[in-house]
């Protein structure tokens, strides 16, 4: 809609023609800044069919430890929080990868490492064919055009003292995108794109409801025509009826603009709805990664099984019939994660090997369905 009929000068016709991604990198801004992204010129065949495109992002052995320090002047490191520990995965253009797990499992930290909002302890992140894990702030700037984030709390992620128009125009100014007039027009387009009225441009964030604010956050992320959007619990703070609106919006935008998403949420229902593939995290590790439906039909990892079984079913009869697996206790501390398989302390199938040896994330049976477990659940199970 607004994208296809974009202005001639700044208007990258990317959305109109999904296959034109190579040309898109250069056509992106009126100030012809080729940028390193253009040089990589990804040949894209990504249609709306998810996950057929080229590998947009590859995380290899991404690790992030946060030091715990003690002492006033001479700060000694006394321990480390193992927030993300040796995580690898691939993301194809046009697909949505859901990232689930309980609070403290490292899903947000992983997202921030990928967006390079945190420096990595070790490992690499390859985005559009280029290793971005060691880039400097300045070198990162062109990357940030293509990789944007949407945050959980729409109350905290918008500056209350800036008008909505300014909030959305900020990324455009930072990247020297177009003239004042073009920017103004683009802001109007973006507001419309996310289902707000362009007349709202001079309002302040507090004049909007939670759902509308989240739309503003989405508009800001879309301003520079990114390819990848990392949405960190984008609907968790919203009311149920509004949640569905925002999810549907993200869905539509993906089709329209050929976006790739990493979608983080703790609500497994929401994740299933939006994702093509899902990665389940536990204590800093991916324990299972699988095509979405497959994960819900045939979970392999006992943790996934327990997580699915804990989701309340809004149906009294089904809810009574099913036997819930209730996990005992809490998630262990990531400062000193359990030996071997990190889930063995709460796992009902755990045996000796589980505490001794760490299981590797390997494929079991179905293609693309990987789990890190010594005793993956019986796949023939009804």
């Amino acid at each position: 809609m607004t994208e296809a009929s974009a202005t001639p000068a700044p208007g990258p016709a990317a959305a109109a023609e999904p296959a034109a991604a190579a040309g898109r990198a250069t056509a992106r801004g009126p100030a012809t800044a080729p940028g390193p992204a253009a040089a990589t010129g990804p040949d894209t065949t990504a249609g709306p069919a998810a996950g057929n495109g080229e590998v947009l992002l590859r995380a290899e052995h991404v690790t992030k430890y946060f030091p715990i320090r003690k002492g006033i002047l001479l700060q000694r490191e006394i321990a480390r929080v193992h927030a993300v520990d040796d995580v690898s995965f691939e993301l194809r253009a046009g697909e949505t990868l859901g990232l689930v797990g309980e609070s403290g499992c490292g899903k947000s930290t992983l997202a921030r490492c990928i967006a390079r909002l945190y420096p990595l302890t070790s490992g690499t992140v390859v985005f559009e064919g280029r290793d971005i894990s060691r880039l400097t702030r300045r070198q990162l700037r062109p990357v940030r055009r293509d990789l944007q984030m949407v945050f959980q709390d729409p109350y905290a992620s918008l500056n209350p003292r800036k008008r909505v128009g300014t909030v959305i125009a900020d990324p455009l100014h930072i990247h020297n995108w177009g003239t004042r007039k073009q920017i103004k027009q683009r802001v109007g387009e973006l507001l419309e794109l996310v289902g707000l009225s362009p007349e709202h441009v001079n309002r302040y964030p507090h004049e909007f409801s939670g759902g509308q604010r989240q739309r503003i956050g989405v508009a800001r992320a879309l301003a520079l025509h990114p390819r990848l959007i990392i949405a960190d619990e984008p609907v968790s703070a919203l009311d149920v009826s509004i949640r569905a609106q925002v999810i549907n919006l993200l869905d539509d935008l993906q089709d329209e603009l050929n976006l790739t998403y990493i979608f983080i949420a703790h609500d497994l229902g929401v994740v299933r709805h939006v994702s093509d593939r899902i990665a389940v995290m536990y204590l800093g590790k991916i324990v299972e990664i699988s095509p979405a439906e497959e994960l819900y039909q045939r979970p392999l990892h006992p943790y996934t099984e327990a997580l699915l079984s804990a989701v309340p079913i809004p149906d009294p009869d089904l809810s009574e019939q099913r036997t819930q697996i209730v996990l005992e206790g809490d998630v262990p501390s990531p400062v000193a994660p359990p030996s071997g398989c990190r889930f063995h302390t709460r796992c009902r199938y755990a045996t000796e090997i589980c505490s001794a040896q760490e299981p590797e994330l390997v494929e079991h049976g179905t293609q693309g369905h990987m789990a890190a477990c010594h005793h993956p659940l019986d796949m023939a199970r009804a």
């Binding site: 009826s241 569905a244 999810i247 703790h266 229902g269």
Partner: protein, 353 residues
């Protein structure tokens, strides 16, 4: 207004708690906010009532008013809250203080802000016991340990001396429940008790509330925004919207035979795991109305896909079928029957075509 005098299921005893036409409004700079606009409820001994609604629907304010916890001088209250034959709204501060904790106890969403961070949890539980009973410090301490054990805290004898920050979120909520149960109340009001918790911990806490309810025979009011949470715990469900109850009935009635378009919207907007994935979620269009300027007529009217002329008049909460299942909607039962499924799952109709 209907007096909801019908008790749920087999419970035929006199209601333990009865709210009659409760109205709560707040005077603000922008005008009068009608947070609760004529709510009537009843709760029988041992019964579990689920109150479902979005933020701002008045579910918390209703229950906070019952406990007389709203001290804002700009708040105005009307209506009656009868508990064991007394109107709580007319009690003095001293008298209501005796009801709180001993008769009706409440737990809140965020267990960290409800616990005092500078006192040991044991001390906080003991304080509550000693406020209501003449009992020695040692005996209160022993009771605190028992209570912590009852809510499933491992090593209660040691944990009783820990501070709130030494507990995880789920454990803190268990401490809150222990504290709420310390004086064996008749009613436990749980205001979004699991909203701040992870799903696996949520399952633990809900199971705990269920077990304690069955063991102690406590009546429970569970306030939540999540239909899934009340699906297997509540006996009866009241759905609130813009300060009013718009539907109320037995759990199965509300889930399988919902009679208000807002309830249909709520049921449709849940991304469910037990069904095939729909192409799109059914979103309720628009926003909840401002409580400063409620629309005349049905408050849900502006967002309702089935609005018609009569909706300009405010619908009362009525028991139209005479089966104890109340709703506040002008559509007649036949129409509801026809519209329900298509509103909850528009895809089914698309597929049929």
């Amino acid at each position: 207004m209907t007096a909801p005098d019908q008790a749920a299921g087999d419970v035929t005893a006199e209601p333990l708690l009865e709210v009659r036409d409760l109205k709560v409004s707040f005077r603000t700079e922008d005008g009068i906010v009608k947070a609760v606009d004529g709510v009537s409820l009843s709760l029988s001994p041992g019964e579990t009532l689920g109150i479902v609604g979005e933020s701002g629907s008045g579910k918390s304010v209703t229950m906070m008013s019952v406990m007389r916890l709203i001290t804002d001088p700009n708040a105005r209250f009307e209506g009656e809250v009868r508990y064991k034959g007394r109107d709580l709204m007319k009690l003095s501060q001293d008298q209501i203080q005796k009801v709180r904790g001993a008769g009706i106890a409440m737990i809140f969403q965020d267990p960290m802000t409800s616990l005092n961070p500078v006192y040991r949890v044991g001390w906080q539980i003991e304080e509550q016991i000693r406020a209501h009973e003449q009992i020695s410090r040692q005996a209160a301490h022993a009771r605190a340990i028992e209570l912590l054990a009852a809510v499933g805290i491992p090593h209660p004898a040691q944990r009783v001396n820990d501070y709130p920050h030494q507990f995880s979120g789920g454990m803190r909520q268990r401490v809150m429940i222990a504290m709420a149960l310390s004086c064996s109340p008749d009613i436990l009001i749980a205001d979004e008790p699991t909203t701040a918790l992870d799903v696996t911990i949520q399952a633990q806490i809900l199971n705990l509330i269920k077990k304690l309810r069955d063991d102690f025979g406590t009546a429970v009011v569970l306030i939540t925004h999540d239909m899934g949470v009340v699906a297997d715990i509540a006996d009866r469900i009241a759905v609130m919207y813009a300060g009013r109850i718009i539907e109320q009935g037995g759990r199965r009635d509300v889930f399988y035979d919902a009679r208000h378009p807002y309830t249909w919207g709520l049921l449709g907007s849940i991304a469910r795991l037990d069904r095939p994935k729909p192409r799109r979620l059914t979103a309720i269009p628009g926003l909840p109305p401002s409580l400063l300027r409620l629309p005349p007529g049905c408050a849900f009217g502006p967002r309702c896909p089935h609005r018609f002329a009569l909706c300009d008049e405010r619908p009362d909460l009525l028991d139209k079928a005479g089966d104890g299942h109340l709703d506040a909607c002008h559509l007649d039962l036949r129409q509801k029957e026809d519209l329900r499924e298509t509103t909850i799952h528009p895809e089914l109709i698309e597929e049929a075509k």
